[in-house]
């Protein structure tokens, strides 16, 4: 089926070339990092994880969110998702690919990365994270490919696919839970040391991921014959709405605990992120952007009249995405390191090169996504089943 990716119109090739060029820039910049070291990034002794790990964290959520389509479709036989479910599975593949690349570029000694499997260390959460992520990637590639292949031949998917699909459901939850455990089990990092971390991660994943999916689905509809259907989009919008409400609720719980208990360690990170500490306030504008976006998105999502309007829905999804990207792809990781263990503040800001590498990985991810979507859409265009009947 991959041959479908080689035959495409002008729009398709323009997109592919732009993404490939941006990936190329990322790769070249990475070669510099390989030579000079992680010193080209904004990370430091005090803020020892930065953009790479936070993008990774965010994208694990996007990957896990495929389950929000798989559960209704396969467990509850919600037929309306029949066209859109493949978009979710392939988005998961692209997202996990990016996750792995982000981990890779964050390594000080990337050539030794196989040490994680050569010396398996079950007490390390990172070991489990690497394991479940690899598994999830394989699961989604296999499931997506097998179902599409069957569809192409007009048969039902092979019998071994179903169990894999069921397995992928708890597996999706596990990748994000394990990722939350990377943070939630560290003594002395008050911002992260919270039992609600995994729940928060899942809530933000299940709103941010599907929001991105809606944006993608509408882009696809505009540019190809493929139409996932109006009702399925509305169903996904409902998922985005409730998950976003849960996410905001969880953050408010954190804020209550920190400030009502009045324990300095629990308040400091919030103070740093939203007000700045002693003039150190690099993240403050970003964090407030996140808050404003969250408020706008809820305002547009909760009244169903608004979200039924697709223009407003797009704005809502974009604001959800921006809000969560800042919150998780920035604030969550950096906030855990500031102030440091001595009560002093070292700020972090990504450097230009670090941003280029980050952009490069996003481009690789979107390149993978474009190709996979192209294959899926071409198969259905040929079958004449590109349009959802809902």
């Amino acid at each position: 089926m991959l041959d479908k990716a080689l035959k495409g119109g002008k729009k398709y090739w323009t997109l592919v070339i732009i993404l490939a060029a941006m990936s190329g820039v990322g790769v070249l910049t990475y070669l510099q990092q390989l030579k000079y070291g992680l010193g080209i990034t904004g990370m430091s002794r005090d803020v020892s994880w930065g953009f790479y790990i936070s993008q990774f964290t965010f994208l694990v959520g996007v990957a896990a969110s495929a389950v929000m389509l798989v559960i209704p479709y396969y467990l509850h036989h919600f037929k309306k998702f029949s066209k859109i479910v493949i978009l979710g599975e392939f988005l998961a593949v692209a997202a996990v690919t990016m996750c792995m690349l982000f981990i890779f570029v964050d390594m000080g000694q990337p050539m030794r990365i196989m040490n994680v499997f050569l010396y398996p260390t079950p007490n390390s959460i990172l070991f489990w994270d690497a394991t479940v992520l690899s598994g999830y990637l394989l699961l989604n590639i296999t499931i997506g490919w097998a179902t599409l292949h069957a569809e192409k031949r007009g048969t039902a998917p092979a019998s071994w696919v179903k169990p894999l699909i069921y397995l992928s459901i708890p597996w999706a939850v596990s990748i994000h839970t394990v990722t939350a455990f990377l943070y939630a089990g560290l003594p002395g990092r008050h911002f992260w040391l919270t039992a609600i971390m995994a729940a928060r991660f899942l809530a933000s994943a299940f709103s941010g991921g599907p929001a991105l999916l809606i944006i993608l689905a509408l882009i696809v509809r505009k540019n190809t014959k493929f139409d996932p259907g109006k009702e399925p989009i509305q169903a996904v919008a409902k998922i985005v709405t409730y998950a976003m409400i849960a996410n905001v609720f969880f953050i408010l719980l954190e804020i209550f605990t920190a400030f009502y208990s009045n324990i300095p360690g629990h308040m400091h990170a919030f103070e740093y992120l939203f007000a700045g500490i002693e003039g150190h306030a690099k993240l403050v504008p970003l964090m407030w952007t996140s808050v404003v976006c969250a408020v706008i998105s809820l305002f547009l999502l909760i009244p169903y009249k608004f979200r039924e309007n697709e223009t407003l829905l797009i704005i809502a999804c974009i604001t959800v995405f921006i809000s969560l990207w800042i919150d998780k792809g920035f604030g969550l990781v950096i906030g855990g390191f500031v102030p440091n263990h001595f009560g002093t503040v070292t700020e972090y800001w990504p450097t230009a090169k670090e941003s280029l590498i980050t952009l490069g990985i996003w481009s690789i991810g979107f390149l993978v996504l474009t190709i996979l979507y192209k294959v899926a859409i071409s198969v259905r265009e040929e079958l004449g089943t590109a349009k959802s009947e809902y």
Partner: protein, 266 residues
């Protein structure tokens, strides 16, 4: 009570709770912590350091300790000032009480005490979070309590830096070699991209020597076996009030600080 908990642990490990981790491993800390210090390492040897800050007065004395370590361990001290805060490598350094014990400060400490410096280094924790999180066993705890670092296995993921609650670890963001002042040919230099920290001078202990910082401290830093009731460290701890950094985190540091009192009261 204790038996119940043991039973529970057994049951838990049989049922394979928690991603195949041995449940006994997970809960070990809890059990030991709640049954008090007696359940801490019972090995024949648990190395420890007692820092008697009363014996440290002049800036020169403080500097000598740090320099001794820097020199023999090829610490890159020449990293340009503009990058210093970001890329600094340090195994032992001096900082104020407020920074060393941020959770144990009160407004009414004598001014002189607030200014007082404390040599800080890896605590060689009995329950080291850095070891718990390392995905490759590049950092591991030896039977004698030393938390060691294998620079050849480390993948530079920096999970241990996120996990160490004492800021004891440094990462080689750049190649350290050009920034070493006088290379000591007897000690390895490190490559870029790995994490490093104080090793309690394991290479010197092998030769029967004392840690370099202790040797340079004129008796202010005393090194010894915490599990030997007759050792000097135990004697000092028995007859003086001492502090550990962030004991509430359950890491059980092996570095102790004797702070004294009256001399700051003036």
């Amino acid at each position: 009570m204790k038996i119940d908990r043991r039973k529970f642990l057994k049951l838990a490990s049989c049922t394979g709770i928690g991603l195949g981790l041995s449940a006994a491993d997970i809960f070990k800390d809890t059990v030991e912590a709640s049954s008090g210090h007696s359940a801490v390492s019972t090995a024949a040897t648990r190395y420890a350091m007692v820092v008697d800050v009363r014996k440290l007065q002049t800036a020169e004395e403080y500097q000598r300790i740090v320099s001794a370590c820097n020199k023999i361990h090829n610490i890159p001290t020449l990293i340009p000032e503009k990058d210093d805060i970001k890329h600094e490598i340090k195994w032992i350094w001096n900082d104020t009480y407020g920074h060393a014990f941020p959770d144990q400060v009160n407004y009414y400490h004598p001014e002189a005490f607030k200014q007082k410096l404390f040599p800080l280094l890896c605590n060689h924790c009995d329950h080291p979070p850095c070891v718990r999180v390392c995905p490759t066993k590049a950092t591991f705890k030896r039977p004698d309590g030393i938390v060691q670092q294998d620079m050849h296995r480390c993948i530079g993921c920096r999970f241990c830096m996120a996990a160490c609650p004492y800021g004891s670890r440094s990462f080689n963001f750049v190649d350290p070699r050009p920034y070493i002042e006088d290379k000591n040919p007897e000690y390895p230099t490190r490559t870029m991209g790995v994490v490093e920290k104080c090793t309690f001078c394991s290479e010197r202990l092998e030769k029967g020597q004392q840690p370099a910082c202790a040797e340079a401290s004129n008796g202010a830093l005393v090194f010894g076996n915490l599990n030997d009731p007759e050792s000097e460290v135990r004697k000092i701890l028995k007859s003086n009030f001492s502090l550990q950094r962030k004991p509430e985190l359950g890491t059980m540091p092996s570095v102790f600080y004797v702070i004294g009192g009256e001399e700051y009261a003036g």
